[in-house]
């Protein structure tokens, strides 16, 4: 097979499900009840309890959770949402779905590629309705400072927690600092199910709004009618089909039991990876070692110190069977955003995007695999 069309020996991520996960899905399928029902409710309750949030609402994706979070924050036509550009495109696209404008802010540095509160502050205008902070790679951004900043101005803080389930800042779980947190259960995530997401909030009104809008703003659901609770329904707003279904909820509930243990394993592997990587010349290993215990350790990002070598290093690693990815290209430089926002310039973000590589990482990765990745990286960067 040519290198252009082959499965990597060491993939970026790899998922291994347990027999009890499969059994939970099989049991749900055999029940014949597939839409939003008791399993979704049980998963939401368990997730909320583990997070320490008042409400958890399962949705179809993190993109859907962000869309509903921005709507709940009141984002509409003409409003601005301050977001990082060093993130997946959904963080910004969700603002466009609401008719709003994403305003891109800088990250702190390549050593700390998290949203910079000082730059956020400079970009707040009278039209700013929300700030969305991304906890990149599972490491806490300055949600505490951003919360102060937002509270002082009556702006909503939304957390994009796609990378960071069960991660913490100052003892408090990420996702619970702002008005709402948006989680992802996409297939390469820490808690993955295929496609799925969740919105958490302590605000009863936000929860009621999200519950309504995720299912077409109908005043009752199929399960309510099946269980005889209600008979008909009204439609009270512009809603969506952002529902999760029961097989996915069952898989999530089963996997949630092992989440802490899996994250603990990720932390051990991350510590070892970091030790090895810190000995490689010519790369930056973002974040500090002492942040690992609070991180969900989603991915292993590195930055090549020298600019202009990303494609070459990535291609050399690919030749050795090692898959890498770029987390993330700058959103403001994508053609869809360039067209809409031609004047955005974010030098630190752009440099990070041009020099970042994400290395293979999954809980069952072996020490030999890690050694192989780091050795190949050292040779490729040299």
């Amino acid at each position: 097979m040519s290198t252009a069309e082959s499965f990597p020996e060491l993939p970026l991520f790899d998922l291994q499900l347990q027999p009890q996960d499969l059994e939970a899905v099989a049991e749900t399928l055999r029940s014949g009840w597939l839409t939003l029902g008791p399993r979704t409710a049980a998963f939401e309750e368990a997730f909320a309890a583990q997070l320490g949030a008042r409400h958890a609402l399962a949705v179809s994706s993190c993109t859907a959770a962000l869309h509903l979070a921005y709507l709940a924050a009141g984002v509409g036509p003409g409003d601005e949402v301050v977001v990082p550009s060093f993130t997946f495109t959904a963080t910004a696209a969700a603002a466009l779905y609401c008719g709003g404008t994403p305003v891109f802010a800088e990250i702190v540095s390549r050593e700390r590629p998290s949203l910079d509160p000082e730059d956020v502050e400079r970009r707040i205008t009278p039209r700013t309705k929300a700030v969305c902070v991304v906890h990149y790679a599972g490491y806490a951004a300055a949600a505490d400072r951003l919360k102060e900043l937002c509270d002082a101005r009556g702006i909503a803080l939304i957390e994009d927690v796609a990378h960071a389930p069960s991660a913490r800042l100052a003892g408090r779980k990420l996702g619970t600092w702002g008005l709402a947190g948006a989680f992802s259960f996409f297939s390469n995530k820490v808690l993955s199910v295929g496609e799925g997401g969740l919105l958490c909030t302590d605000d009863d009104d936000v929860a009621a709004f999200v519950r309504s809008r995720r299912s077409h703003a109908m005043t009752s659901g199929t399960w309510d009618r099946h269980s005889g609770r209600t008979d008909t329904y009204d439609v009270v707003g512009l809603g969506f089909n952002y529902r999760l279904d029961e097989p996915r909820a069952a898989l999530l509930l089963s996997r949630l039991q092992r989440l802490e243990a899996e994250i603990e394993r990720r932390r051990e592997l991350t510590r070892r990876y970091r030790e090895l990587l810190q000995q490689v010349d010519g790369i930056i290993v973002p974040f500090d070692d002492d942040e690992v215990p609070d991180s969900s350790c989603y991915v292993i990002p590195i930055m090549i110190e020298e600019d202009g070598r990303q494609a070459e290093v990535s291609s050399r690693l690919r030749e050795r069977g090692i898959q890498t990815s770029i987390f993330y290209p700058s959103i403001h430089l994508f053609s869809a955003y360039r067209k809409r926002f031609p004047d955005v310039s974010l030098p630190i973000t752009e440099l990070a995007s041009r020099t970042e590589l994400t290395l293979p990482f999954y809980p069952h990765m072996t020490c030999e695999d890690q050694d192989r990745v780091v050795t190949a990286l050292a040779e490729a960067v040299k």
Partner: protein
Amino acid sequence: MTAWRVPLTDVEVTEDDVQAVLACLESGWLTMGPRTQAFEQALAEFVATPHAVTVSSGTAALHLAHLAAGIGPGDEVIVPAFTFVASATAARYCGAEPVLCDVRGAHDFNIDPEDAAARITPRTRAIVAVHFCGYPADVLALRKLCDERGLVLIEDCAQAIGAHLHGDSDRQVGTVGELGAFSFFSKKQLCVGEGGMVSTASQELAERVRLLRSHALTSSTWDRHRGHDPAYDVVDVGFNYRLDEPRAALGLSRIARLRASIDARRATVRAYRERLHGLDGLELIFDEQAVERSSHFAFPVLLRDRGARDRFREQLKASGVQTTWYPALHSFSEYGGLTPGGRATNLPRALEVAERHCALPLSATMSEDEVDVVVAAVSDALAA
């Protein structure tokens, strides 16, 4: 919680279906990949459409169909008033305005092409033909109308996969409009939980839908996993409307039984019709030809008026028989609501069928005993 003697619908998941999903989960690859491709191919063959693109729901399918058709702010889209709300919200997601039109009547409750024609303005860009409850709308007439007036025809096939056309029984729904939108929601003939699909004969429209369902990224996770370059561009405002592999695996397993399921539903409908025919106070909807062509998502019947319908449903509920009904869109608060004590005058037939109909239990696995229970309950309710 009510324990229904006969629930409105029942989903049978076979052991083959379960094993197909488990094999997918064991593979560890859960995002759009080989199973999604195989499911799309099977769907294209089943519907006899050149392109089938799976998405996360019927609503997502409608949204992307509208976007691919170029619907945008300021445009109007004509939508029948007797349908599920998603038929109208899709236009609103695009910044366009749904313009409600009437249906033919209580005995053929699909979109009335004449009323649709009367509502065309210079801003009209598309007509949504809903094949409601599985009964095909007159899309050949609508096709002619759209061609004459330069409009796009979008078929809402959410309830009608496998239905054959009114006027051309060799063709299926979803192949006449520029785009068709299907649903695999858990009550549907082909269900996976949440899911949907867009059908189209146009390569260009299919590519547009494919692009927009995954954030307008120029490469997918699967492409990158197979060794493609890790760099990608975002070329438009796209969405996360992807289906995942376990659901594709389930759909692929179930589609093998779909034609037989539809036939089983039709046989039950025929049994119902034979036994309910002539009962005082109850009217059947559609004719035998329509029954032959329909893929039978639901089995609605008509009562005399709203009061009779509501009493009928209460009595069936007391007998353990679950029923439902679809409100007309213009009766929802979000769509204006009905003035207290008054009636919407410009969509009278949609309102009439909404108020008079009641859908009885229907699934592919309904037994003769269950039909007996429902028929007996219906007779009792009418006699009461």
